[in-house]
């Protein structure tokens, strides 16, 4: 299953009693100008609930599924049960460009949403109907799908308690960018594209310098002397992440930024390409000290 947005899980659990066993309720949040998530994959029998968390009125209109929510006022909800496999795009007719899509598959595959480093072991999670039998993970790097792993119950993992019954798992070491899907005798799942990168991991640390200054140190692993890094701050007046300083990593694959002010502001270091803009990888988000 797609991981539920935080806060929605408890509500979804309470509503689950109203829908058939195994089926789940999955939330989509209607924001000012977008649906989040805009793409969602579910099993037949699942219920999708749209909750309007914006201050605007929205609606949800499907072209093919024959479902039209009518107006959803701020804080309002609308829901629909999906029983037939297929891909169903929808729009908000009030707000131009506000679009979404629900995919209904006999299996639902979930995996990493961002790029991973070559050689990483990636965890896949598959929601399957009860009594599904063997569920395989298949990959296609351009020559057709071939099985690479068999999914099974989680082993000693703590996330087990969050899983719906029937969720199985598999770890696959990825070596190239490819499309993945889950398959069993009853059909195949949605497809996930896993992008593989050779960009090194970026780590960053922050400490307090003298006279109200913050010192951010960064390093790349494996070592990449000369690589370009940009320090970004998340600033309210910049409406997002804003580049404030740039550097090349030294011979020990490290760089250091000294900043004045901006206490409490989120900061991150981004490894960038030759244009100093295209992001190859980013550090975790730090908070500048007070």
């Amino acid at each position: 299953m797609r991981r539920l947005p935080i806060g929605a899980a408890a509500v979804a659990g309470a509503l689950a009693a109203a829908v058939p066993a195994q089926a789940e309720s999955v939330f989509v949040f209607a924001q000012t100008q977008s649906f989040s998530p805009s793409q969602l994959d579910v099993l037949p029998g699942d219920r999708v609930i749209w909750r309007n968390v914006s201050t605007k009125t929205h609606n949800v209109k499907f072209e093919t599924e024959g479902f039209n929510s009518g107006r959803i006022a701020p804080r309002g909800v609308a829901n629909h049960d999906f029983n037939v496999p297929g891909v169903f795009p929808y729009i908000c007719t009030i707000h131009d460009g506000m679009v979404g899509q629900v995919g209904v598959y006999p299996l639902v595959l979930d995996g990493p949403m961002k790029r991973v480093r070559r050689g990483t072991s990636v965890a896949f999670h598959v929601r399957a109907p009860e009594g599904a039998g063997e569920v395989r993970i298949e990959t296609d790097s351009g020559t057709g799908f071939v099985p690479v792993a068999v999914a099974g119950p989680a082993q000693g993992e703590t996330h087990e308690e969050h899983d719906a019954p029937g969720t199985v798992h598999a770890n696959v070491v990825v070596s190239e960018t490819a499309v993945y899907r889950a398959a069993f005798d009853g059909g195949v799942s949605n497809e996930l594209r896993i992008e593989v990168t050779d960009a090194p991991d970026v780590s960053a640390k922050v400490r307090r310098g003298g006279r109200g200054r913050s010192i951010v140190t960064t390093a790349a692993n494996p070592a990449t002397p000369g690589a370009r890094v940009v320090l970004q701050l998340k600033l309210r007046e910049r409406f997002g992440w804003w580049p404030v300083a740039r550097a090349r990593l030294d011979r020990r694959s490290r760089a250091r930024f000294t900043l004045r002010g901006n206490a409490g502001v989120p900061a991150r270091v981004v490894l960038v390409g030759p244009d100093w803009v295209s992001a190859l990888n980013a550090s975790r988000v730090l908070k500048l000290p007070h």
Partner: protein, 282 residues
């Protein structure tokens, strides 16, 4: 005599550094917003060391627009220009509005008539000799007028002259706002959308001056929320129209604390990024 050292330098420009339109939430990939270009950059004497064009710098060193060149009526100016365009290897020049000069300082390319001033090749230099005359008080554009003018103007090769009258005091804050299209965006100083466009800052009580001009082939309107100024005839207004290469300055004594919008009121241009925030503190 005022000496200014300027060079045409290659750079990589990002029109939307935060990657988004902060008002609608639309996002943009670097492939849509980043491009190689050539810009004017201020240097120390003899082009020894590059300087920032603007006092408040970010990671791009505020290279668009070119340096704001100050003078006073009666001043003579020597603008020493060097073409350092080593990547695209185009000719460049500087052509100034609003000031007095001989044809050899016009900086415009006319085959058979103009000299090296209008066609400064890579590696070459030219000194433009200008005079701020009686009719020069105000703000004026300068820009590339060489054979590569049209390409250069789309890439941000323009800047402003700010000339005070003989007895005029300097404003406490001076903001340059150039309205110009760039790639698929409508920009202020080469940047599109709130947060990316310049954030002018002032304090209540400051005498603020906005230097405004339009570059390109379209008309724009300069509008600031929460503020008014007076025309030469004494009529208050809060929106003024500019056509290509037109320029004006407006002044007011700041009395409105808060965060305000300023933008071009041609709605299509607003949607394409010609909008910013102006912050006034107490």
């Amino acid at each position: 005599m005022r000496h200014v050292w300027v060079a045409a330098v290659p750079t990589t420009w990002n029109i939307v550094p935060n990657g988004r339109d902060g008002i609608t939430g639309a996002t943009f990939a670097p492939t849509e917003t980043v491009f190689p270009t050539v810009v004017y950059r201020r240097f120390t004497k003899g082009w020894k060391r590059p300087l920032r064009n603007a006092p408040v710098a970010n990671v791009d060193h505020n290279l668009v627009p070119g340096p704001l060149i100050h003078a006073r009526v009666g001043d003579r100016l020597r603008i020493h220009f060097k073409n350092m365009d080593a990547t695209l290897r185009n000719p460049h020049s500087m052509h100034f509005h609003g000031v007095e000069y001989a044809p050899s300082s016009d900086g415009a390319y006319v085959p058979g008539f103009s000299g090296r001033d209008g066609n400064v090749r890579p590696g070459q230099t030219w000194t433009y000799k200008l005079r701020a005359g009686r009719n020069s008080a105000g703000v004026w554009p300068y820009h590339d007028h060489s054979p590569s003018m049209h390409h250069s103007l789309e890439g941000g090769m323009w800047g402003m002259l700010s000339i005070r009258g003989r007895h005029e005091r300097r404003a406490d804050r001076e903001f340059v706002s150039v309205f110009a299209p760039m790639q698929d965006f409508q920009t202020i100083n080469g940047r599109a959308f709130v947060g990316n466009t310049p954030i002018p800052r002032a304090r209540v009580g400051d005498l603020v001056q906005w230097d405004v001009m339009a570059i390109g082939s379209e008309h724009h309107t300069f509008h600031v929320h929460g503020h008014r100024w007076r025309t030469a005839a004494g009529v208050p207004e809060d929106t003024r129209t500019l056509g290509p290469a037109e320029s004006f300055r407006v002044r007011w004594r700041e009395d409105a604390p808060g965060t305000w919008l300023y933008h071009c009121h041609v709605e299509q241009h607003m949607e394409q990024g010609m909008i910013g925030i102006y912050r006034v503190s107490r």
